[in-house]
Amino acid sequence: MNLMPGIDTTASALQAEKTRLDIIGQNIANANTTRGVDGKPYARQMVSFESKMIELGKSSDGSMQYGQGVAIKDIQADKTDGPLVFNPGHPDADEKGMVRMPNVNVTHEMVDMIAASRSYEANLQVVRTAKQMASQAMRIGR
């Protein structure tokens, strides 16, 4: 039996939320990138989560216990076109002077970032509580 309940499950969630924050950071950083590595405007990346079984160790009766952790299922590009902006002086402008901007909506990314950091905080709170429970169990018989 695990001393700190649910710590592996929470660790997977912290890892997943951190990756999500990384991707959000990448989207915001590239909000004005009109020429990405493939020559096209940067496409917004989206993270999707999935549940994953995690072995938590054997319980007192010998049966294996499982927890439902989180993993990144995949990171996909948003295929929608970004806005066309009239900017004839821009090096990536077409013959009509229009520039295709990335489809990153910074407001949307900021809201997503807040959601990700709140989930991260909630999971950290789970670790704190698990630690507290373990130290209380240690105090028995002292």
Binding site: M1, N2, P5, G6, I7, T9, T10, S12, A13, A16, S48, F49, E50, S51, L56, S60, D61, Q65, G67, Q68, G69, V70, A115, R118, S119, A122, N123, Q125, V126, T129, A130, Q132, M133, Q136, A137, R139, I140, G141, R142
Partner: protein, 127 residues
Amino acid sequence: MIDQMFERENYTLAKKLMDVSHVRHQAIAGNLANVETPGYKRKDIQADFATQLAKLAGQDDMKGIASLKPTLRTDFASPAVRADGNNVQMDKELLEMNKNATQYEFLANYTANSMKRIKTAITGRVM
């Protein structure tokens, strides 16, 4: 004799309830980890565990209590809070987690104090 001392009702019950709190914390950790997983359904201890335990405690059936096993069930009854069917409410889970941890703290303190009293009885000195 020493075995009998630690097989009393209070220890059996405290041990079982601490086990339940431990498993429940694992379930809540999984629920909070999956707060944004599409289609995830929350897990919790089976709903009739409390009534089963109360029934066995009422009958003084300590063997029954010791063999009672907390198992996790998927909660399909709670309403979905996201369009994808996920039914984890973050605030509710955090509240339940704190409640559960307080219960665990109480049981740990209870067991520790109970053992302290036995030590006092043996040695005649207040620990």
